[in-house]
């Protein structure tokens, strides 16, 4: 793994924005819109005026809105593109986990800051949902780390040479993907931004603030997909093409599948989700982890 110069950091931003853009385009097309819909939406929001509310906690509100994109980018910082990485962190897996936990705070702040009931309810809904998905996510993340015997992303990729983790950790992979959709506040996990509360955390934001929130959600989905690729699909591992192309191809493939699949499921109400998360998904993920650790010990 080659750590590249920090001058490449803008490329990470470009790639994340491109992937988020792709997800938004795909989303628009399968919902009966046009490929240009995200461009039109971005133009619309850049032209739209921002809003501020009476006695709003503007500091937390704007932090929450803009922070999602930052969290997504910080996740991507530890994900190698082929053999190049910006940051070969020894605890890259934990780093990814820490960044996804930031989303807890950020979505809640986006809901709290507006001083509006619908937004407030949305923020709290997200925390309730986070209580359901976070532990399964952590254990799903632990499985590849156990398989590789390392928390370094590069080692996790190297350990998959010959046999991708997705083959013998399917439960961890599926749970991880569901959790990615959940921390991106998308699809069946979008209760925090649902129409039944006027858009929830989105209810009061307009203009560039809204653009950042929407982009941040897609960017999180993209970053999560990229991490699914390095944790379960062997990163840049693949024949014929250069490794960096493989990383991108796989990331866009996982991202597209997530965008397509999440439309097929209705919203999961957070109050019913928590029990499912704890009583079904958590033991299932632990069982997967047990299988992985037994395999690792026996091997």
């Amino acid at each position: 793994m080659v750590t590249v110069s920090v001058a490449w950091a803008p490329l990470a931003l470009l790639l994340v924005v491109a992937a988020a853009w792709w997800a938004a385009c795909l989303d628009a097309v399968v919902s009966g819109g046009r490929w240009g819909a995200p461009a039109a939406e971005a133009a619309r929001l850049l032209r739209q005026r921002r809003r501020t509310l009476l006695a709003a906690d503007r500091l937390l509100w704007r932090l929450g809105g803009g922070g999602l994109l930052v969290a997504a980018l910080l996740m991507v910082a530890v994900i190698p593109l082929g053999r190049w990485t910006l940051s070969d962190l020894g605890v890259g897996v934990v780093w990814f986990n820490a960044m996804d936990v930031l989303v807890w705070a950020l979505v809640w702040m986006a809901g709290w800051g507006a001083n509006s009931t619908h937004a407030l309810v949305g923020g709290y809904r997200f925390l309730a949902q986070a209580l359901a998905y976070e532990l399964p996510l952590m254990f799903a993340l632990t499985a590849p780390a156990v398989g590789a015997g390392s928390l370094r992303v590069a080692d996790v990729i190297a350990a998959q040479h010959g046999l991708w983790f997705v083959v013998w950790m399917p439960v961890a992979f599926v749970v991880f993907c569901a959790c990615v959709v959940a921390f991106s506040v998308q699809g069946p996990f979008a209760a925090a931004a649902a129409a039944d509360i006027g858009g929830g955390v989105l209810a009061e934001v307009s203009g560039v603030d809204r653009l950042l929130l929407l982009a941040g959600r897609y960017a999180l989905l993209a970053a999560g997909s990229a991490f699914a690729v390095v944790a379960f699909f062997g990163g840049g591992d693949g024949p014929w093409l250069p490794d960096w192309v493989w990383t991108l191809v796989k990331t866009f493939a996982v991202l597209s599948v997530l965008v397509l699949v999440r439309r097929r499921v209705p919203l999961l109400r957070p109050d019913r989700l928590v029990e499912v998360g704890w009583v079904l998904v958590l033991p299932l993920t632990l069982l997967q982890l047990l299988v992985v650790s037994v395999v690792v010990v026996v091997r």
């Binding site: 820490a98 705070a105 702040m109 029990e275 079904l280």
Partner: protein
Amino acid sequence: MTGVVQTVLFWGLGAVAVAAGVVVFRTDSMARATYALAASFVAVGAQVLFLHLDYVGVIVVLMMVMEMAVMAVYMVMFMGMNPALMPMSMVHSRKTSLGVAAGAFIVLAGGALLVPWPARRGAPAVDLTVSLGQATMGSKMLVMLVVSPVLFSTIVSALVLALPRSRYDRLGDDLRRRPAEDPQPGGVGR
């Protein structure tokens, strides 16, 4: 990265941690106070990274943000007044706490400056996360063995104290009512 930059960053993070700590007591919003505390912890976590303790540093950030996100909920909920729009004070028993804080600071700072620090013997392991794992699974196994029942009893005792409705409320005195009587049903079984 050169030593100077590291030093500046380290002290800068220290200043951020202290400043955020001060904000905790100066702000009028429970939400801001809680997240200022989170920011303070994040700065400290970043400082830990300078000590080459990558895992500890990152996990401090992870745990503290998560815990503060939960704590914000509690602070907002259980504050005896409006949690955002009223003047408030996070200071309680000012004199005692000032005294304790000053005393603790003097003892710790004095200790740091006056006690002769031992010279390093040997070198730390290359990967300290591995050492941490070996320690918890090997020589410090007792920690694991103790923590497990402690956490279990934490769950049980916390719920016994805090749960508004127990299984007898839901399932009746003979625990036979099916489905359970809940204000709003749903979930898994029971």
